[in-house]
């Protein structure tokens, strides 16, 4: 794998050069590389290896490929493959396209490093590599992106420093960075250190994963990042956070226990319960915030917060059903995030905006994009028969089976709420009346459609045949010594019941066909112009000047927003805190560095007197 990493580094230069010649060429190169990665991973199903790359002086990087990290590596290669496919056309007008592709390749390198790491040092190094490359990538977005990237980098650095502190504590205790040494020592470590390490790591994971209440970087970073990069950010980079949470919630504790046949790794009370609760909160907060967004990409960003909540909730809950569901949900979220962000990117590619208040009726212009979005949101909302249903079903089953009704309610809340927020772009972008300025919008070019269609197809297929979705994760469960959940080709068995997705698909498919037939036969749509608005007898003075403010898509969930307007906002606190810090810094500079010469002498003399006095008395 170290060879691959060096190849990746070299490839980023090559791709830069190629993209300077022609953007599509660069993107195609990246697509081939990541496609090769996907193929290689699929071919290496079931194989594994470990290798070390010595840096000298006792330092070494260790990589491994095993059942354990296979799905995650695949995920990385897949996301890059899809995104680079999408980028073939999408990057044409981007200002820094060549650098973008080169940096994207470096992200690929970091994928190999983070998911392929078999020691903490490697993990950390590639985490940091991801931080600075994605910092630049986010910065390339629209106007607000610079600020967003800075906040993102700032939060990432906090996570990184938490992580490095934890790693160093481990290293101090075990004498090496290696996972296996840590596993060997885990139980022997003083519980204080163990708790600190776990808390630090989990805090870092929550930040990276964009979980409430440290989620706020997601809004701006996802919303303002370049359209091509948002899917990577949401589909791939937040998964780094989930992955490290997974490491510390399941992998280490379970590997330590090595009692084969555990059905539940962690207890439902105490710390894990707190974490599960945080996950639940994240589901709710993300859902509510997503409902209130008027920018399509920010909406999707908050949906990521909510989905991260599911993953953390499930992993922290820790029964074998919940774990399998949580891990599967990671993959499901990759697909849905890709579907949603790519379709939003496609819309923005043609219309130049992601503001939902401005749009409407694009279904006629962009039917493929619409379909992709539709399938993605069905999966997001956890409506059968798609993949999203499977994972959510498993999580809620696990919660309900053990009687954790509050958590189950939270998960349900997210599911129901997601109907509301995913419907908003559907209604305001694709349905309804089309503004005049978007009359000539065309469907996106071939490669972009292709990328989106692959995602859609996978969402449907994995939904019908959950075996392929779940098998890798049951293998992980076997690998770490848990009892794997029982699955069939299209069925999943829980303690309470069983789920046959093929059946459900047939039922839903039949229902859909029926509805389609009815629609085609009996629908008599009335065509109205965009600004034919009825004011119900009231005199609305602006109707002749700015009719668009009466368009139905404007302020879609305004009333709903009022409902939550009094809720405390974490972000407002952060802003206030930042303002105080800034003032404080100003005072420090004024008093320590902006003096006259006399002032400095004063400072020196006083410091000197104090230093001596301290010794004296």
């Amino acid at each position: 794998m170290s060879t691959l990493i060096f190849i990746g580094l070299a490839a980023s230069l090559l791709i830069y050069a190629a993209a300077r010649l022609s953007r599509p060429l660069g993107a195609l190169l990246l697509m081939l590389l990541s496609g090769a990665g996907v193929a290689a991973l699929i071919l290496s199903w079931g194989k594994g290896f470990t290798e070390t790359l010595p840096l000298g002086n006792g330092l070494e990087l260790t990589f491994s490929l095993s059942t354990f990290n296979w799905p995650f590596l695949l995920l990385g290669a897949f996301v890059l493959f899809i995104v680079s496919l999408f980028a073939v056309n999408a990057l044409k007008e981007m200002e820094h396209g060549a650098s973008f592709l080169a940096l994207l390749t470096l992200i690929g390198v970091s994928v190999m490093g983070v998911f392929g790491a078999y020691d903490f040092l490697t993990l950390f190094i590639f985490f940091e590599l991801m931080t600075w490359t994605s910092f630049f990538l986010v910065s390339m977005g629209k106007t607000g992106a610079k600020k967003a990237a800075l906040i993102y980098a700032f939060m990432s650095m906090i996570a990184a420093y938490l992580m490095i502190s934890a790693i160093m504590m481990i290293a101090q205790y075990t004498g090496s960075f290696s996972y296996s040494d840590f596993m060997g020592m885990y139980e022997a470590m003083p519980s204080g250190i163990r708790t600190t390490v776990v808390i630090f790591f989990l805090a870092a994971a929550l930040i990276k994963g964009g979980i409430y209440p440290v989620h706020f970087w997601l809004r701006s970073a996802h919303g303002d990042a370049p359209h091509v990069f948002s899917p990577v950010l949401s589909g791939l980079l937040v998964k780094y956070g989930y992955y490290s949470a997974f490491l510390f919630l399941l992998f280490f504790p379970v590997m330590v226990a090595t009692k084969a046949g555990i059905t539940q790794v962690t207890s439902t009370d105490g710390p894990n319960f707190i974490l599960a609760f945080i996950g639940g909160l994240s589901i709710m907060a993300g859902t509510v915030a997503a409902i209130l967004q008027s920018d399509a990409k920010k909406l999707v960003a908050f949906s990521s917060v909510s989905h991260g909540g599911y993953v953390i909730l499930a992993l922290a809950y820790g029964t074998n059903m919940a774990v399998a569901g949580g891990l599967a949900h990671i993959w499901v979220h990759v697909l849905t995030a890709l579907g949603m962000f790519l379709s939003m990117g496609a819309v923005a590619y043609r219309t130049g905006t992601t503001d939902m208040d401005e749009m409407g009726g694009l279904i006629k212009n962009m039917p493929v994009t619409f379909t992709v979005y539709l399938i993605a949101i069905i999966s997001v909302a956890g409506i059968p028969p798609l993949a999203g249903f499977v994972s959510k079903w498993m999580i809620i089953q696990a919660l309900a089976a053990n009687g954790s009704y509050i958590l189950a309610f939270m998960a349900f809340f997210g599911s129901i709420g997601s109907f509301m927020y995913v419907f908003r772009p559907l209604a305001t972008i694709f349905l309804g009346q089309r503004p005049h300025k978007f009359k000539d919008v065309r469907e996106v070019p071939f490669f972009m459609q292709l990328a989106m269609l692959i995602v859609t197809l996978l969402t449907i297929l994995l939904g019908i045949m959950p075996y392929y979705l779940l098998k890798p994760f049951t293998r992980i469960q076997e690998f770490i010594g848990m009892v794997p959940v029982k699955i069939g080709f299209s069925t999943v068995y829980s303690a309470l019941t069983q789920l046959d997705m093929m059946l459900i698909f047939l039922v839903f498919g039949g229902g859909f066909l029926l509805a389609l037939v009815i629609f085609l036969l009996f629908s008599k749509p009335t065509k109205v112009e965009q600004h034919e608005v009825y004011t119900s007898g009231e005199i609305a003075p602006e109707i002749s000047t700015t009719p668009e403010i009466y368009h139905f898509s404007k302020g879609y969930y305004r009333s709903f927003g009022r409902l939550f307007s009094r809720w405390p906002s974490v972000e407002a606190w952060y802003h206030k805190g930042a303002a105080y810090i800034s003032q404080f810094f100003e005072i420090i500079e004024q008093s320590l560095f902006k003096q006259s010469i006399n002032g400095f002498i004063w400072l020196a003399v006083v410091v000197m007197a104090v230093l001596m006095a301290v010794r004296w008395f």
Partner: protein, 249 residues
């Protein structure tokens, strides 16, 4: 108010510094040379096996073979034992002269500073005092290894002569380039002597000339040579500074 606090700080620092240092320092009557580096310098036993304990062999007027052999121990320290410091010191002065030059260079064309018309007595007597002053300066730096004085002192006296010239006549202008070259040459000479020591004896700034009889004019090895160079250098530097200030408009 500020001044009162400053005064309090003054007293506080005086208290801390004074009482703190008092406990370690050997002051006044309690001060002895025993065990200090200065004792070994005076005994000229720095390189002997036991610098502090060995009996003195110094004999003024007849000693030929002891370290440096300068009758003036101060000079032996300045240009002998701690010659490296002195090299640095000369360099600092050189730098200061360069710095003053650099500062005034910025003002472009150099014009002589307009002083009041010199006093008649001053302008007449300067002509005849000048050689005497220069002679005295030269004496001071050539006899640095025997009597109080040396390159710095002598150089300063000569620079005073240049200042006198400036005071005495409005027309005088020191040859700036010449001074700079003299500075460079004498500084380089000092270093070359040091490097010669390195080449001939293996130690930088080591003495490689015969050290003569203590108290004789031609004694103490390279010390007088170095001190003469320092004298030239210091006189050139200080004159340069004087002329830079005078040339400032």
């Amino acid at each position: 108010m500020k001044k009162v606090i400053a005064l309090l700080l003054f007293l506080g620092l005086l208290f801390f510094l004074g009482t703190g240092l008092e406990q370690g320092l050997k002051l006044g009557d309690r001060n002895t040379l025993a065990g200090k580096a200065g004792e070994a310098y005076l005994k000229r036993t720095v390189n002997s096996a036991d610098p502090s304990a060995s009996p003195s062999q110094v004999e003024y007027g007849s000693e030929t073979d002891i370290e440096e052999n300068a009758a003036n121990t101060l000079t032996a320290v300045v240009v002998g034992y701690r010659s490296f410091d002195t090299l640095g010191e000369v360099t600092v002065l050189f730098l200061a002269a360069t710095g003053v030059m650099a500062l005034f260079f910025a003002s472009g064309k150099k014009k002589r500073l307009a002083l009041a018309k010199p006093n008649f007595i001053l302008s007449v007597s300067s002509g005849f005092l000048l050689p005497l002053i220069i002679l005295f300066g030269a004496y001071v730096f050539t006899h640095g290894h025997l009597t109080p004085g040396g390159g710095f002192q002598g150089g300063t006296i000569i620079a005073a002569a240049v200042l006198l010239l400036y005071m005495a006549g409005n027309a005088y202008k020191a040859p700036a380039t010449g001074l700079k070259v003299l500075e460079g040459f004498s500084g380089a000479g000092y270093l070359l002597i040091g490097l010669a020591g390195l080449l001939l004896t293996g130690f930088f700034l080591n003495n490689f000339l015969p050290s003569g009889k203590m108290g004789a004019l031609f004694s103490a090895g390279v010390i007088p040579v170095v001190y003469i160079l320092i004298g030239l250098k210091v006189s050139a530097e200080l004159s340069g500074i004087v002329s830079d200030y005078m040339g400032e408009d």
